[in-house]
Symmetry: C2
Subunit: 324 residues, 2 copies
DNA sequence: AGAATAGTGTCTATGAGACATTATTAT
DNA sequence: ATAATAATGTCTCATAGACACTATTCT
């Protein structure tokens, strides 16, 4: 009954007895492994990339997987473990530890996955985290990561895991990629990691609407067109430059002017853009709504709402518990 | 490195070696307990209540805690475990199992809490779930629950856990209670359960905005004023009856008319209300925005956004991974 | 009768989106 | 010179919210 309580109540039933025994000698009970996996996202050449490591051992050998590892019992919390794993793979945590307020690396809990059969060897409960980072160098071999690399999310196949693509979206335009590479058509992901990644992508797309987290994909100073490129890459659709510009500046606390501009204009011409840095707002108000792709119903007579008008399969906005 | 992988890689460092050993004989490694806790919310007499169980044993004895228990290794997933625990405490799962489409009990993952010291005895990782239910009878003693009861959330003290109340809200109006009872001023919650509960309340308040989940607090058929009462109780503020009515009917798929009305009018007069049931929309579009309590900045000149205008500490919309 | 409530109508301020326009810069 | 782009302005439509009003029902 009581949560977090492995040892107190006398057994009152078969299940309770099991728990009671397990509490007094946890090693005698069927063990559960707790791991932490990280969906680390960044922007490269205008398209969304995810950090993956290649599995070199039997179960799912050759498949790519999310970086992750075991929670160190009694030594660290979940957030710490996620940050540690990410640092081991990419060596990018120094930034996160050093400058907290100008938050260089965003890390938040995504969800926990604990189906008994998700790992063939034993029951593994994985706490998934979501990380946003500005463009980073390729993960250097020689660290803990044997083979880690950034992959365009558009190269991955997220569908076979029982997740239908967003309604109306052809599902191959996700990355909105600049490069039309068609090398590996669908990179297989290990275990249920495709499912986790899909949840992470849903989360990012939703969060851009009402949080200033798009700035986490950019360096400290950035321009409005660069910020727009983040939205376009994550949402996979073009945005109106003029309206986006005005909208961003109208949201209090989203960006703050640095008073300077870029040194050069756009690559193909145009004036130099002013630079900004992230403001102190933690929530966008009003939100930057994603362009609606449902045909505008144009004055639905109230009282008889047409069913099915709401796009199914779309992900609601999401966030885990506040990182404490 | 590889996630969910307790057994494959040869050790390449101290941490990796630990993991490797643990994989080949998990019982030799420091164990971690995995539990599932449920924040079960319902509406009683117009105010929000949460299901709590009283701890009868040493650690935190006498404190109230969220219902929960151990994940059965190899036997069940997290969602199943949460549903099972809730059923053991309240006996209300029959409904959820029986009628899935007219979904009588909403259950979703809230977040996972795994600080090493959150339980004094061992490292316990708790996966928290959030449940919404229509008014239920008091949990019957005789089940697994020794002492379980519904408590008004306004009776609980959620603050000492490092969580600041929503900006501008006096923090004692949370329940929006009908009863101005001031009996137990602040019921202490065990472990970090106050923190979990606070996260759950943030989540519910946010979800009512863009999801039709308010209907999960009501019986199958309900009236618009009853639906409004849910919003008022969860948000802790009065809503404009007329505008709310029109707004609800204008959102496609939120509610569908049953064609009938209530048998009696309001308790203090008024015509009989029409009845509705939940529509098939899973997302409210456009959303039912929570009334803004920030002083309307009244035409902020763009380009120099006033910092701090965005209410801090407010919870963003949130949802866990899609229940699979 | 009096009071409270369900439901609808109307008006206004605001924001989103569609263009249009000007100024600036790379090629 | 030409083309592309940053940034701003203007216009229209939809929605949120304030308020008023009618009809219905309980005490």
């Amino acid at each position: 009954m009581a949560a977090d309580d492995p040892s107190t109540q006398p057994p009152t039933g078969p299940a309770a007895e099991q728990e009671w025994l397990a509490a007094y000698d946890p090693r005698a009970y069927t063990p559960i492994a707790v791991t932490v996996d990280v969906v680390a996202l960044t922007l490269r050449q205008g398209s969304l990339h995810v950090l993956l490591v290649e599995r070199g051992a039997p179960p799912q050998q050759g498949c790519w997987a999310l970086p992750g590892g075991f929670l160190r019992a009694g030594e660290e919390g979940l957030d710490e473990a996620a940050a540690r794993e990410l640092a081991e793979e990419t060596g990018l945590l120094g930034a996160a530890e050093a400058e907290s307020p100008p938050c260089r690396l965003h890390l938040e809990q995504l969800g926990t996955y604990g189906a008994p059969a998700r790992d063939p060897r034993m029951h593994v409960v994985s706490v998934a985290y979501l990380a946003f980072a500005p463009d980073l160098p390729d993960p250097q071999a020689g660290t803990d990561a044997a083979a880690a690399a950034w992959h365009p999310v558009s190269d991955l196949d997220l569908r076979p895991c029982g997740r239908s693509p967003a309604a109306g979206v052809p599902a191959d335009t996700h990355g909105g990629g600049v490069d039309g590479r068609t090398g590996p058509p669908a990179l297989p992901l290990a275990f249920d990691h495709a499912h986790i990644l899909a949840d992470g992508l849903d989360r990012v797309r939703a969060k851009l609407e009402y949080s200033p987290l798009a700035t986490a994909f950019l360096p400290h100073d950035f321009t409005i067109p660069e910020l727009r490129a983040v939205y376009e890459a994550v949402w996979g659709e073009k945005l109106h430059p003029g309206n986006f510009h005005r909208k961003v500046l109208s949201v209090p606390g989203f960006v703050e002017s640095t008073g300077t501009t870029t040194q050069r204009g756009g690559a193909r011409g145009g004036p130099r853009a002013r630079t900004y840095h992230a403001g102190d707002a933690r929530l966008l108000h009003p939100a930057l709504l994603r362009p609606t792709r449902e045909a505008p119903p144009s004055a639905v007579p109230p009282g008889e709402a047409p069913q099915g008008a709401t796009p199914p399969g779309e992900a609601p906005p999401g966030e885990g518990p506040s990182p404490r």
